[in-house]
Amino acid sequence: MEQIRIHGRGGQGVVTAAELIAIAAFNEGKYAQAFPNFGVERTGAPIQSYARISKEPIITREQIYNPTVLIIQDVTLLDTEDITTGASKNTIFIINAPKNYTLRTKLPSKKVFFCAATEIALEIFGKNIVNTVILGAFAKHSELLSLESLKIAIQEKFKDKGASIIEKNIKAIEQAYND
């Protein structure tokens, strides 16, 4: 079972990111689960969300303690919170930071991938909303989802938000995927 833990801040779309992963995995014929964990419901407060992908039905509802993938939407969280708890040498890290970024924290794994999601988000949306952007990097480096099924998930999830939003989000994940 793949266990994906996402760390970010309130307002960054942390919960939506986990939901998109689950929708995309389900569309690929797998079992999937996603659920949130807000500390307090406040913009800017640290938030976690979880997604599981498996070939078997997923019945456990415990939070994710040993992530196989850790997505970090806000790199400053690494300095203030112990967000790498439970990660191992096999955990894949997808971090929103420029390519040449130097981490101040030592990570347990060498599978660390940077994605300049903020840069891409500012360029495409004019706002620092990185949740979909970073999923492009997630699909590429974890190989758990195809870019195509992510795009379909975005169309499904954002269908009430209009064509322009969907188009921008798809452009953003493509850019992150090909980066």
Partner: protein, 388 residues
């Protein structure tokens, strides 16, 4: 080792739990819905209001200014012979309590979802079962769902039993854990549901009708009042068999299989040394944990009111230990479920029965916690333990 069988179902969608419940309610075809938003129930009623606004629903959606008003509106609507639905959580449910007693006393078959949440103070929006336990004696049937699919089927079952027995029903779904999670689920169509649950046609003389005037909830002297309470008690007892019967039918019509009979569901070892007892979504986490054990079983209580005492006595007959794992506490006593299970197995004095209080205010219940409980369950020391 006997493996726990997890029923594989082909699911049509991946949905948020709240959306799955809202779609089901729309397909059940209620006449009136009234609710006041409260976390974590909000998404359910938002979706139902949206269906109405989009023109895909036939019900009247009445906005209320509080939960007390919402409960009063559904009472009034149901008293006119309509099929009625509402949803709430925590403080919202507690604000409704006075009306809830009136609803059951008037024998109005309303179905309501409770997205279970802790009760203040201190303020906490997360899941536990304190709210459901606060209305335990209000005369409402109470069901608890393990996952989205069970929540979908329990709402259909709840309407069937409620309308048949003329008793209101509360369907409990764990707040956030079920209401805000995405997982695969199938939503039965309107036409399939109508095969199982036909349109609600109450008997003449049981509802408010200008052509056939009656009084509901009028003044009763002591003798008559006493009798109403005895009647409700008897009808709860009768509903035990009714739920079993209807659950069998439900499985047939909606074409699914599980180990449950609508009241309880047993899974795990054939001859268990220890049986864990719980309600709601925690059953999933326990089933996952039990894959590594060969002498432990899980008895999931799906119907809490009426309380399936006989089923529990039967299921635990030959085990040595019982661990009741629950998300509520009655200060000065113990876990409410523990006390009821203890009363149910009173005849079997050899069993070592223990109570573990977990998950209050949404504290995560990990598989490690379950392992810890299993390890401790055959000790005869402290009876009631908080594990977090």
């Amino acid at each position: 080792m006997k493996k726990i069988k997890i029923q594989k179902r082909v699911k049509d969608h991946i949905l948020e739990g709240s959306r799955a419940i809202a779609l089901t309610i729309n397909n059940i075809n209620p006449d009136v819905i009234s609710a006041y938003p409260i976390t974590p129930q909000t998404h359910i009623v938002e979706d139902l209001a949206k269906f109405k606004a989009e023109g895909t629903a036939n019900y009247e959606y009445v906005r209320a200014e509080s939960e007390f008003a919402a409960a009063s509106i559904i009472l009034g609507a149901c008293a006119t012979g309509s099929r009625v639905y509402s949803a709430t959580s925590s403080q919202g449910l507690l604000l409704m309590i006075e009306v809830l007693y009136n609803i059951s006393g008037m024998r109005l078959p309303i179905v309501m979802t409770c997205a279970n949440r802790a009760v203040s103070a201190p303020i906490n929006i997360w899941n536990d079962h304190s709210d459901a336990m606060a209305v335990r004696d209000s005369g409402w049937l109470q069901f608890f769902s393990e996952d989205h699919q069970e929540a979908v089927y329990q709402h259909i079952l709840a309407f069937k039993i409620a309308e048949k027995m003329q008793l209101p029903a509360l369907v409990n779904v764990d707040g956030f854990i079920l209401t805000h999670s995405y997982e695969p689920v199938s939503i039965p169509s309107k036409s399939l549901i109508s095969k199982y649950l036909p349109a609600y046609k109450p008997e003449s003389g049981t509802y408010l009708d200008p052509k056939n005037p009656i009084t509901l909830g009028g003044f009763f002297s002591s003798d008559a009042y006493f009798k109403t309470r005895e009647d409700i008690f008897q009808d709860f007892n009768l509903s035990l068999e009714e739920i079993k019967k209807e659950y069998l039918k439900l499985k047939k019509v909606f074409n699914f299989k599980d180990n449950g009979n609508g009241l309880v569901e047993y899974s795990g070892a054939k001859k268990p040394k220890t049986i864990l007892i719980t309600m709601g979504s925690l059953a999933g986490t326990i089933k996952e944990t039990l894959k590594d054990y060969r002498d432990i079983g899980l008895l999931k209580i799906t119907t809490f009111r009426p309380f399936p005492a006989e089923e529990i006595l039967k299921a635990t007959k030959s085990c040595k230990n019982i661990a009741v794992i629950e998300k509520a506490i009655s200060p000065g006593s113990g876990g409410p479920l523990y006390n009821e299970v203890k009363a149910a197995i009173f005849e079997n004095e050899k069993i070592n029965i223990k109570n573990y209080i977990v998950g209050l205010g949404g504290k995560d219940i990990s598989q490690k916690i379950i392992q810890k409980i299993i390890k401790d369950s055959n000790n005869k020391n402290k009876k009631i333990t908080f594990v977090g």
